[in-house]
Symmetry: C2
Subunit: 194 residues, 2 copies
Amino acid sequence: MTTQQAAAMRPATMNGLNVQGVFATIDAVKSDTGLAKFQFRAKNRWIDGGENRSTIRNFYGAGREDDSRKTSFEFINGEPPVLLGNNEGANPVEFLLHALAGCVTTTFILHATARGIEIDELATEMEGDLDVRGLLGLDETVSPGYEQIRIRLKVRANCSEKELEDLLDYTQQHSPVCNTVCRPVPVKIERAIT
Amino acid sequence: MTTQQAAAMRPATMNGLNVQGVFATIDAVKSDTGLAKFQFRAKNRWIDGGENRSTIRNFYGAGREDDSRKTSFEFINGEPPVLLGNNEGANPVEFLLHALAGCVTTTFILHATARGIEIDELATEMEGDLDVRGLLGLDETVSPGYEQIRIRLKVRANCSEKELEDLLDYTQQHSPVCNTVCRPVPVKIERAIT
């Protein structure tokens, strides 16, 4: 059975996703792997102290520059008083938890839909442990980043417990943010020519 | 020279940070390493399709539950049409770039201040390459996460080029989000008891 045949046997929409769209995306990427290449971007500007702001809009993907966003998204990083800020925004390590929660959720919903599993509810609670001796450079044996991140996931779905566990394992292995956190990803910093 | 003596020779505020506060934080953590333990949190709820929302408020750190935030921060993950969404928000991999930009910036400002370096301007442009064959599970040799992230950093400061390069290297090694991305961090997913 081709993915198109699979799609034809499904409702038009499942879990809020266009089912034909899911299978059409899979088929398109299978037939032209160049369409799978994406480049995401953000611009950030320091304001003062622990406050800085990002704007996010354009990206490259599916063979072209995306132009679907008419305005930019804007986000403010801040710090709480105990970390020398004024709660101008959530702080960067908290935004990382938001990114991870969202990516696990979206990956789960995508593959649930591809498998024909309807999701009634999906919610996560995230916890990340961090020792600021790393950030402060007080002990070079302490990693500055998260020591561990835990995701407590609540889900209700129209499938067996076994199917749910399989889907969850698959999600963990295929979520882009989860994979970025779980494996070493090179970050290159270069100076802009001013 | 103790950090307090160093602080006494500095202006009260530098780069928008309370200089006494920076050194007091370093001294406090040096004298009681338990104060360095933080736990950050987020709660996320799936809305529909590629849309989900996080609330972020409380955390544990410096020996107690923080209560400085009177309301929660709320953030919306979405997806662009080419990734089957309606641009309900930035997407999770874009939020990761925002988190990374903010963390590198805040770490840079913190250590610049500790070193007595005044920063006039700091801005970053982020790019991350991602191949969605990983997310879609079409090629298990393709990593679902970012292949590489590049940060183009523009900075103006009252110090020598050598001091700036040292500070930038130190920042890359001590930024919590940069370290979380660059090294493998365990992510544990468990099911909530419902």
